[in-house]
């Protein structure tokens, strides 16, 4: 049924399961260790639910010392580890394997300190993305990266996947907003990487850690940047008669050197799904819609909007609708950020994450539609248009194995299309297991080998999240 292979579990580890659990039980109190089959089952997948593997055990440590103790133990015993944040990965980044211990950071959920003078916050890695902004919003600050799952996803997961979000067009992704991390290495050593400021001394190891998909260590604390809230912000809806016209308009806005704070795309199926859930006032009589948000003073917003409207008119914009209140703004974003979940009301889906140059958007959108149709399936497009980060949702019935195979094949075709159009496999969701076998389409063997050699410096025995990112064959050890 499933085209994505999992490595065969190590029988020696499975045979030692009781001893391994006894070892973990000596390190953690009972409420921090999940061992019964019923309870382990709940951790067998993340938000890519078509793939599931029951983990050997789940450890939920409460602090860095406990994380380090569990990792040192697993390292000593040769037991694989799968790190888990909130388990919201759409690429299967947190899917376990039978011979691995899941280490979840969900109990590390405190904001440790806020330093407004230096505009930073120190947080435990299991805090949710949104809870940071919630904590500092009353004082006029926020944490910029805003993945759609920001309500639930953890900073640990954001660091693992170098997550983006709607407002990253202006503010950058996770790597641009993290200053330092405390990380536990595979042998239990605790290291501090980066610092309290934007440009710490020495090698830019932070750039290596952010986006490493839990293969180099487990981050337990992070220092994040806080930004001042803009004076004002206003999303505007632009409705078009075709997806291609909307895509061309995006390319023209970016091409004109305008950087709105966010520029999101939704096609008709996505508009209908999200409007039904959020009742945000999206136009239902258009084929595609852009949510363009401008921010700043009233004059700044007006000036930028005037330029954007002028470009949109050139591409035949049909509807222009500005948010008139904070409530409307909240609903517009609620609809957009709930798009994936709301799609669950209509069908099962897999969500692609390919990124292309914005000039290629019209072509890739058109081809995406053709590819999915050729498999007899439907697609809903909702994505970060401003940075060309596409999220086609391929709709299918997960209870039908034939449809699942078709959906996967269509997804692979779309990702190859993105790479061939000058883009890459993943904008923000990560490779996980989902795109692992497509890595050779993007990278040469030389590239992959160099990446694996770097990886091997941290984890020469492939114990950390081993089934992810790199194709299962041709792996190199330390």
């Amino acid at each position: 049924m499933s085209s994505i292979a999992f490595p065969t579990p190590d029988p020696a580890i499975l045979a030692r399961r009781d001893d391994i659990i006894a070892g973990l039980a000596a390190l953690l109190p009972p409420e921090c260790l999940v061992t019964s089959e019923d309870e382990r089952r709940a951790f067998e997948t993340d938000a890519l639910t078509a793939y599931r593997r029951l983990p050997l055990a789940v450890a939920l440590p409460r602090n860095t010392a406990e994380v380090a103790a569990v990792m040192a133990f697993c390292h000593r015993e040769g037991v694989k580890i799968v790190p888990r944040g909130a388990g919201t990965s759409l690429a299967g980044g947190a899917i376990p394997q039978e011979d691995a211990v899941v280490i979840g950071v969900s109990k590390l959920n405190r904001i440790l300190s806020v330093d407004y003078a230096n505009r930073t916050a120190r947080v435990e890695a299991g805090v949710t993305n949104l809870s940071i902004s919630d904590a500092v919003m009353p004082d006029g600050f926020f944490y910029a990266p805003d993945p759609s799952s920001q309500l639930a996803c953890t900073i640990a997961g954001n660091i693992g996947m170098n997550s983006g979000g709607a407002h990253c067009l202006k503010y950058g992704v996770t790597i641009n907003n993290i200053l330092g991390v405390k990380m536990v290495l595979i042998d239990g050593t605790v290291v501090d990487i980066g610092g309290q400021a934007l440009d710490p001394a020495g090698l830019d190891l932070l750039g290596l850690i952010v986006g490493s998909e839990g293969q180099l260590g487990i981050v337990t604390e992070a220092t994040v940047r806080l930004l001042r809230l803009a004076e004002g912000a206003r999303p505007v809806l632009f409705g078009f008669d075709s997806s291609e016209a909307a895509g061309e308009c995006v390319a023209a806005i970016i091409g004109a050197g305008i950087v709105p704070v966010a520029m999101e795309f939704m096609d008709k199926p996505a508009i209908e799904i999200c409007e039904a859930f959020a009742k945000a006032g999206y136009p239902l009589d258009v084929e595609a819609m852009l949510i363009v948000e401008v921010e700043g003073s009233e004059e700044e917003m007006e000036a930028q909007l005037a330029r954007i409207c002028e470009i949109a008119r050139r591409y035949g914009v049909k509807v222009v609708k500005e948010s008139r209140s904070a409530t409307e703004t909240a609903l517009i974003w609620k609809g957009r950020k709930s798009a994936f979940g709301a799609t669950g009301r209509v069908a099962d889906y897999i969500c692609m994450d390919g990124t292309v140059p914005t000039s290629q958007l019209p072509y890739v959108l058109k081809r995406t539609g053709e590819i999915v149709a050729s498999y007899g399936l439907r697609v809903a497009n909702v994505f970060h248009a401003g940075d060309g980060n596409m999220h086609p949702l391929i709709l299918y019935n997960v209870n039908d194995p034939a449809e699942q195979a078709k959906a996967e094949a269509a997804g692979n075709d779309i990702l190859r299309l993105c790479v061939d159009a000058g883009g890459c496999l993943t904008g923000e969701h990560g490779v996980g297991i989902e795109k692992r076998d497509l890595m050779r389409h993007q990278f040469s063997e030389v590239d992959l080998t160099q990446q694996m050699r770097v990886r091997a410096v941290f984890d020469g025995r492939w114990l950390l999240n081993p089934a992810k990112v790199f194709p299962l064959d041709g792996r190199i050890a330390a």
């Binding site: 309870e39 938000a47 109990k107 309500l151 639930a152 859930f277 669950g344 099962d348 209870n399």
Partner: protein
């Protein structure tokens, strides 16, 4: 999400309904973030997504509930915050109700747990028994520290006794309303615990309706809505209560022309509004249940639709409005109570983290006193930061729970509305020394 039910399993309508719910879940995890127990415990098994997975596995496998599964389902408050959050429309309430009934049928709890639950199920839903029990609890109050030391069940018994009010409330005699053919008519659910604990609430509701020239019809045969036992998985008992109430109300609808069944405890409102679903497969009651559910509304929903006279003087009281979970999540009622309070001249303040449960949750604060206590402290902390004069809410359970953790008086929304519209000062305010002395004469009109 993928499911694996056999067609034989799906022939059972309960199972078919649950399968449909499970299919709509995409496992996105949004629900974890707004779940009170996940916030406290940081374990996905104590989150909606984890529980959904446990339930799915239990139902698909046709397995009896295990101690592990029961532990995590028991910890669920049924606050339904997850349903407000869920973008996919997963009907968690119906799923967890199904799971609780399955647990009740397939799992044998230990003796003390069984005893405590039986005690609650045989006392709370019955007004007279509850009144007697309350007397016993008042008597037991001085012995609470001793009770707490009883093995296994002590903490929960102590929690139960602690919830009893410091004095037995007086039963106020209400004048029988005059019947006039042309008046609009409604029924108000008397129910079980509320009229014993706080008869002032429904009295206030009646006065408010009387001022709007609406007659409240007495429906003698009604009683507990069934929510308390329903949440303990005692489906048969819950349905029995539901049928009795439906019979009583259908008679009142058909013979006395009541236009609404008004509920002043949002916990009950959520359940009565669900009668239509609970009895959907009962050929004798399905249609009647639907009619009853359709006419049911919270008192604030009903008052919001009326043209209440304006209040001319501002009471200058800051009210922290605590939205009960059954109000904001169970019934999705958010603005009406606050609008009514503002229109009545109160300054209304929203409680930070207002979507998180106070820990009351029916009998949860008795069965899970530790988690409930932590949630209460968190809630009281959030409320007290607002420095309100009064806390208002629309559910008796929250009034008792929050009242146990703060010196600020906690009253029902309708008590404040009634006061502002010319009724007596709510008893809880009379007892609050600081407030009472500052009360000059309100309303001043």
């Amino acid at each position: 999400m993928q499911t694996n039910f056999t067609s034989a399993q799906l022939a059972d309508p309960h199972m078919a309904a649950s399968e449909k719910i499970l299919r709509s879940c995409v496992h996105c995890g949004f629900c974890t973030a707004t779940c009170p127990t996940y916030l406290l415990l940081g374990d996905e098994l104590d989150s909606p997504r984890g529980r959904i997975y446990l339930i799915k596995d239990m139902l698909e496998g046709g397995k009896p509930a295990t101690a592990e599964v029961v532990k995590h389902i028991d910890r669920c408050l049924s606050c339904l915050s997850c349903m407000t959050t869920c973008p996919s429309g997963v009907h968690y309430m119906h799923l967890v109700d199904h799971a609780r009934a399955h647990i009740e049928q397939t799992y044998k709890r230990d003796a003390t747990d069984r005893l405590l639950r039986a005690l609650l199920a045989h006392i709370l839903p019955y007004r007279n028994r509850f009144r007697l029990a309350l007397g016993a609890a008042l008597f037991a109050k001085p012995f609470r520290p001793l009770l707490a030391h009883l093995p296994r069940v002590g903490k929960r018994l102590a929690a139960m006794v602690a919830l009893a009010p410091p004095r037995s409330p007086a039963v106020t005699a209400e004048p029988a309303p005059l019947t006039r053919a042309d008046r609009r008519r409604v029924a108000i659910l008397e129910g079980c615990a509320q009229p014993v604990l706080q008869p002032a609430i429904n009295a206030a509701a009646r006065r408010l309706l009387a001022r709007a020239d609406i007659e409240v019809v007495r429906v003698a045969e009604e009683g507990c809505c069934g929510a308390l036992v329903h949440h303990m998985g005692r489906e048969a008992q819950a349905l029995e209560f539901a049928r009795r109430n439906i019979d009583a109300w259908i008679t009142a609808i058909d013979q006395q022309g009541i236009e609404a069944i008004i509920i002043t405890a949002s916990g009950c409102g959520t359940t009565v509004k669900d009668y239509g679903f609970m009895l959907r497969d009962d050929p004798l009651y399905a249609e009647k249940a639907r009619r009853v559910s359709a006419l049911t509304c919270d008192i604030t929903e009903f008052l919001d639709r009326l043209d209440l006279p304006a209040v001319s003087t501002a009471p200058k009281r800051a009210v922290a409005y605590h939205s009960a979970c059954s109000m904001q999540h169970g019934q999705q009622i958010r603005d009406e109570p606050k609008r009514l309070l503002r229109n009545a001249g109160f300054t209304v303040r929203d409680v930070p983290e207002g979507h998180i449960c106070c820990g009351s949750a029916g009998v949860y604060n008795i069965l899970q006193p530790e988690i409930a206590g932590r949630l209460r402290d968190r809630k009281v902390g959030n409320i007290e930061r607002l420095r309100p004069d009064i806390i208002a809410t629309g559910n008796i359970g929250c009034i008792t729970q929050i009242g146990g953790g703060t010196a600020i008086p906690v009253v029902h929304t309708v008590e404040l509305l009634d006061w502002a519209h010319g009724g007596p000062m709510p008893p809880a305010l009379e007892r609050a020394p600081g407030l009472n002395s500052r009360v000059v004469q309100f309303p001043l009109a």
